[in-house]
C-alpha cells in the first residue's frame, strides 16, 4: 500500500538536464519580464503576451524565410512590429477598465493565433514554418568553438549563454528604468490612476509605452523559443503560455524583476524534474500525476507565501 516514490537523482545532476531547463527558464523569464512591467508595475492586466510573442517570432520567421532577410536585420524589425502591435491594440482598449482590457488582450492573442493558423501562404498554417535559423546555427557553432573541449558536445550551451546574458541585460535595464521618474509615474498609475492624471500625467501614453515594451519583451522571448525549437507552429502560442507566465509572476513575486528569473527557474525545474518521477504505475498515470504534483507544489507555495518568493506584501495589496 505504501507508494514507492522515487526520483532518480542521477538525471538531476546531469548537465543536459540543467541546460534544457535553463534555456526554457530563460525564455520564460524574458516573456514574464513583460508581464511584470504591465501587471506588477503599471497595474494593467495583460493576458495577450503569447500574442505578442507570436507576432515577434512569426515576423522574424516570415522575414527570413519568405522575404529572404538576414536574421540580424529581421530581429529588430520584428521587435518593432511587435511594439507597433502593442500600441495598436492598446490605443482603443487601454481606455477600458482593467478587467475589460484583460478580455480584449486575450481575444487579441487568440486572433493572432488563428491568423497564424490560417494565413497559410505566410505562416505555413498548421504545417508550421521552418528554416529561419541557419545564421543562428553558425553563430552557435562559433560560440561553441570558444568553449573548453569538454563542453563541445553540449550544442545547446550557446543558446543557454545568449538567453541568460539577454535576461541579465534586460533585467538590469528594466530595474534602471523603474528607478527613473518614468518608472515612478508607472507606479503612481498602478496605485491611483486618477491621482496621476490630476498631476498632469498623460496616463494613456504611459500605459501605451508600458504595453509596447512588454510586447518587445514578448517578441524577444519568441525568438528564443523559435531558435530552441527550430520550428514555429500555432500550437506553440496557445493562451496557456500566458498563464504559465502569470504563474511564474506570482511565484517570483509581483513588482520584483529578479523574482521573475527565480520564479521561472523554479517553475521549469518543477515541470521538467517531475518527468523523472518513477512510480509503479502505468506510464499514462505517471504522466498525468506529474501535473498534479506540480499543481500541488504551486498551491503550497501560494498558500504559504502569497506575495511570492521575492515580492513585498505592501506592493501586492493595493488598497487596504
Amino acid at each position: 500500500m505504501t507508494p514507492v516514490f522515487a526520483v532518480s537523482l542521477d538525471a538531476l545532476t546531469s548537465a543536459d538536464f540543467w541546460i534544457g531547463v535553463g534555456v526554457l527558464a530563460g525564455t520564460y523569464t524574458i516573456f514574464t519580464l513583460g508581464l511584470q512591467l504591465n501587471v506588477g508595475f503599471t497595474g494593467i492586466i495583460n493576458f495577450g503576451q503569447a500574442g505578442f510573442m507570436a507576432i515577434g517570432a512569426y515576423s522574424m520567421g516570415i522575414l527570413v524565410v519568405r522575404a529572404g532577410w538576414s536574421l540580424w536585420a529581421a530581429l529588430p524589425a520584428a521587435t518593432a512590429i511587435a511594439m507597433a502591435a502593442g500600441v495598436l491594440i492598446g490605443l482603443p482598449s487601454l481606455r477600458l477598465r482593467a478587467d475589460y482590457f484583460a478580455i480584449v488582450t486575450i481575444a487579441f492573442a487568440e486572433i493572432v493565433r488563428y491568423v497564424a493558423q490560417n494565413a497559410r501562404g505566410l505562416t505555413g498554417g498548421n504545417q508550421g514554418l521552418l528554416g529561419f535559423d541557419d545564421q543562428w546555427l553558425d553563430v552557435s557553432d562559433t560560440i561553441l568553438g570558444w568553449l573548453p573541449a569538454s563542453m563541445q558536445d553540449q550544442f545547446l550551451l550557446p543558446l543557454l549563454i545568449v538567453v541568460w546574458v539577454t535576461v541579465a541585460i534586460l533585467t538590469g535595464l528594466l530595474m534602471l528604468l523603474q528607478r527613473s521618474p518614468w518608472g515612478r509615474v508607472l507606479r503612481a498609475i498602478r496605485e491611483d490612476e486618477d491621482a496621476a492624471r490630476a498631476l498632469g500625467k498623460n496616463v494613456l501614453a504611459y500605459k501605451l509605452q508600458s504595453i509596447a515594451l512588454a510586447a518587445a519583451l514578448g517578441a524577444i522571448a519568441g525568438y528564443f523559443l523559435a531558435l530552441n525549437l527550430s520550428f514555429l507552429s500555432p500550437e506553440s502560442f496557445e493562451p496557456q503560455f500566458t498563464f504559465i507566465g502569470f504563474t511564474i509572476l506570482i511565484l517570483g513575486g509581483l513588482a520584483n524583476y529578479v523574482g521573475v528569473a527565480l520564479g521561472s527557474l523554479i517553475m521549469w525545474t518543477l515541470l521538467e524534474a517531475t518527468r523523472f518521477i518513477d512510480l509503479p504505475l502505468a506510464a499514462e498515470k505517471v504522466a498525468a500525476l506529474r501535473f498534479v504534483i506540480v499543481g500541488v507544489a504551486l498551491i503550497l507555495l501560494v498558500a504559504f507565501r502569497p506575495q511570492g518568493l521575492l515580492g513585498k506584501r505592501q506592493e501586492m495589496v493595493l488598497r487596504d
Binding site: 500500500m1 505504501t2 507508494p3 514507492v4 516514490f5 532518480s8 538525471a11 546531469s14 543536459d16 538536464f17 534544457g20 526554457l24 488563428y114 493558423q117 490560417n118 498554417g125 498548421n126 504545417q127 508550421g128 521552418l130 528554416g131 550544442f155 545547446l156 523559443l225 530552441n228 525549437l229 527550430s230 520550428f231 507552429s233 500550437e235 506553440s236 521538467e272 518527468r275 523523472f276 518521477i277 518513477d278 512510480l279 509503479p280 504505475l281 502505468a282 506510464a283 499514462e284 498515470k285 505517471v286 504522466a287 498525468a288 500525476l289 506529474r290 501535473f291 498534479v292 504534483i293 500541488v296 498551491i299 503550497l300 498558500a303 504559504f304
Partner: protein, 442 residues
C-alpha cells in the same frame, strides 16, 4: 495571523493526503507497466559473434497527456511488446545484444516533445520511436534528430511536409504520408459511389493532420474530375459547431468527407445530427475516426453507416493475427490506431542497430532503409530469430512489419501501405470490408 497559518497547514496536509491517496490507489490496479522513465531490461544470450553484442536503449516518445493521450498507453504497450519479442528472439537467434526502452511524455505539444526527446537522448537512447503528432515530429526533427544525430521513427505523423524535410536522413516514419492515404481515400470514394461525377462537401479539424489531409484529398478528387465544396476547417477547441455543421450540409452534397479525431467529432457529430439533413451513410472519413466500435461520446447517428480508410495490416493475415494475439494476451490497454506502427518502429530501431553492429545514431540511421526494404530475404516478427541470425551473419534482409512491407524510401517514408476500407454497422461496430495496397507515385 496564527490561525491563518494553521489553516494553511491543514490545507497542505489535506492536499498531500489526496496525492498520496491517488498514488496509493493507483498502485493496486497497476498491471506492471513501467513508470515515466522506467527501464525494461532484457536478458542476453551466450555464444554470439563478437560484433553483435551491445546494449541498446530505445527511446519511446509518447503523447501520454494532452490531445493525443488516447494513443499514449497503447503505443507504450506496443513498444514494450516489440522489445519482449526481440528479447525472446535474441536468445533463440544467438546474439548477445540487450535492448531496453525508456519512455517520455510529449504532452501532445512541440515544445514538450523537444524536451522529452533531449531527455531520452541524454539518458542514453540512440534511436527514438516517436513522436506522434506531425507538429511534434517536425520540431523534434529540426532541433533534435539531425543536430544530435539520432534517428526518430514516428509511428503516426502523416503530414506530407515531413517527406521533404532537410533532415540528413534522421527522420523516418512507419505511417504512410497523407499523400498516400488521401489518394487511397479518393479511390475508395470513387469506387463506393461508382464514379466521380459527384459533389463532395469537405471538412476537417484545423490542425496539421486535418488541414494537410483534406487539401490533399481535394487535389486528388478534383484531379479525378469530381467537384468539392469547402473545405470547412474548424478549430478543435470550439464548444459547438452549429454554424460549421450548417455549412457542411448546405446544398445537399452527394457525400461528405470529414477528417477528425473522436475528441472533436463528439461535438461536430452532434451539431451535424441537429441539422436534420446529415446522413452518416454518405460520410467518408479516415484513420482518425476509426475504432473497434463507436465510442459512447459520439452520437451514434453521426457515424452509423459511415465508411472510411485506415492504414491497415496486410491481407496475409497471420502476422496481424499474431500481433493481435500477443497484444490481447499482454492485457492492459485496448487496441488503438497506430499501435502496430509503433511496434514496427521500435522493432526497426533494434534491427537497424543489429545490422550496423553498433548503437550509434548515425550508424543506425544508415541501416534503417537497408533492413526495411528490398533487396534481401523477407521476414516478419514471427520469424524474428531467423531474421536476427541472418542480419548477424551479414546477409541482406527485408523486414516486413505488422503494418505492411514498410520498404522505406530515401526520404524515410514507407513506399507502400495497406489500407482497410471499413464501415460502421447499424450496431455501431466497425467492420473491415476490404483491403488494398497503395504505392507512392514515382
Amino acid at each position: 495571523m496564527y490561525a491563518g497559518t494553521r489553516s494553511r497547514w491543514l490545507l497542505a496536509v489535506g492536499v498531500s493526503a489526496v496525492v498520496l491517496g491517488v498514488a496509493g490507489c493507483g498502485s493496486d490496479d497497476d498491471e506492471g507497466g513501467g513508470g515515466g522513465t522506467a527501464t525494461t531490461g532484457t536478458g542476453a544470450a551466450a555464444e554470439a559473434p563478437a560484433d553483435t553484442s551491445f546494449d541498446q536503449t530505445i527511446g519511446v516518445l509518447l503523447p501520454l497527456t494532452g490531445d493525443l493521450s488516447p494513443f499514449g498507453a497503447p503505443g507504450r504497450k506496443a513498444a514494450d511488446l516489440a522489445v519482449a519479442q526481440v528479447e525472446q528472439a535474441t536468445r533463440a537467434g544467438g546474439v548477445e545484444t540487450t535492448v531496453s526502452t525508456t519512455s517520455a511524455d510529449t504532452e501532445s505539444s512541440p515544445q514538450a516533445a523537444v524536451q522529452a526527446a533531449r531527455q531520452l537522448i541524454s539518458g542514453g537512447a540512440t534511436c527514438l520511436a516517436g513522436p506522434w503528432a506531425s507538429s511534434e515530429t517536425l520540431a523534434v526533427a529540426e532541433s533534435v534528430a539531425s543536430r544530435q544525430r539520432t534517428p526518430i521513427v514516428s509511428p503516426s505523423s502523416t503530414d506530407a511536409a515531413i517527406t521533404d524535410l532537410d533532415d540528413d536522413g534522421f527522420v523516418w516514419r512507419t505511417a504512410p504520408s497523407d499523400n498516400l492515404q488521401s489518394r487511397a481515400l479518393a479511390d475508395t470514394v470513387e469506387q463506393e459511389l461508382g464514379g466521380t461525377d459527384f459533389t463532395i462537401s469537405l471538412a476537417a479539424r484545423n490542425d496539421a493532420y486535418g488541414q494537410g489531409f483534406i487539401e490533399k484529398f481535394r487535389e486528388a478528387w478534383e484531379a479525378k474530375g469530381g467537384r468539392t465544396t469547402g473545405p470547412v476547417l474548424y478549430d478543435p477547441e470550439q464548444p459547438n459547431y452549429n454554424s460549421e455543421a450548417a455549412e457542411i450540409v448546405q446544398g445537399r452534397p452527394d457525400a461528405y468527407v470529414i477528417i477528425d479525431f473522436f475528441e472533436t467529432y463528439g461535438k461536430m457529430g452532434a451539431s451535424l445530427v441537429r441539422t436534420g439533413e446529415f446522413d452518416a451513410g454518405r460520410l467518408f472519413t479516415a484513420d482518425g475516426l476509426a475504432s473497434d466500435r463507436i465510442p459512447d461520446t459520439i452520437p451514434a447517428r453521426a457515424l452509423i453507416g459511415a465508411r472510411g480508410t485506415r492504414p491497415g495490416t496486410p491481407e496475409s493475415g497471420a502476422v496481424v493475427e499474431e500481433f493481435a494475439r500477443i497484444y490481447r494476451e499482454a492485457g492492459g490497454a485496448p487496441r488503438q490506431t497506430f499501435d502496430a506502427q509503433n511496434f514496427d518502429a521500435t522493432m526497426l530501431c533494434y534491427l537497424a542497430a543489429l545490422a550496423a553492429g553498433s548503437t550509434d545514431g548515425t550508424d543506425i540511421s544508415e541501416q534503417l532503409q537497408a533492413v526495411s526494404a528490398p533487396p534481401g530475404r523477407k521476414f516478419t516478427f514471427m520469424e524474428l530469430a531467423d531474421g536476427i541470425r541472418m542480419i548477424a551473419a551479414g546477409e541482406e534482409v527485408d523486414f516486413d512489419g505488422v503494418t505492411g512491407p514498410i520498404d522505406f524510401d530515401a526520404n524515410g517514408d514507407p513506399t507502400a501501405a495497406t489500407y482497410e476500407v471499413y464501415r460502421y454497422g447499424p450496431d455501431g461496430v466497425l467492420r473491415v470490408e476490404r483491403q488494398f495496397e497503395a504505392r507512392a507515385a514515382e
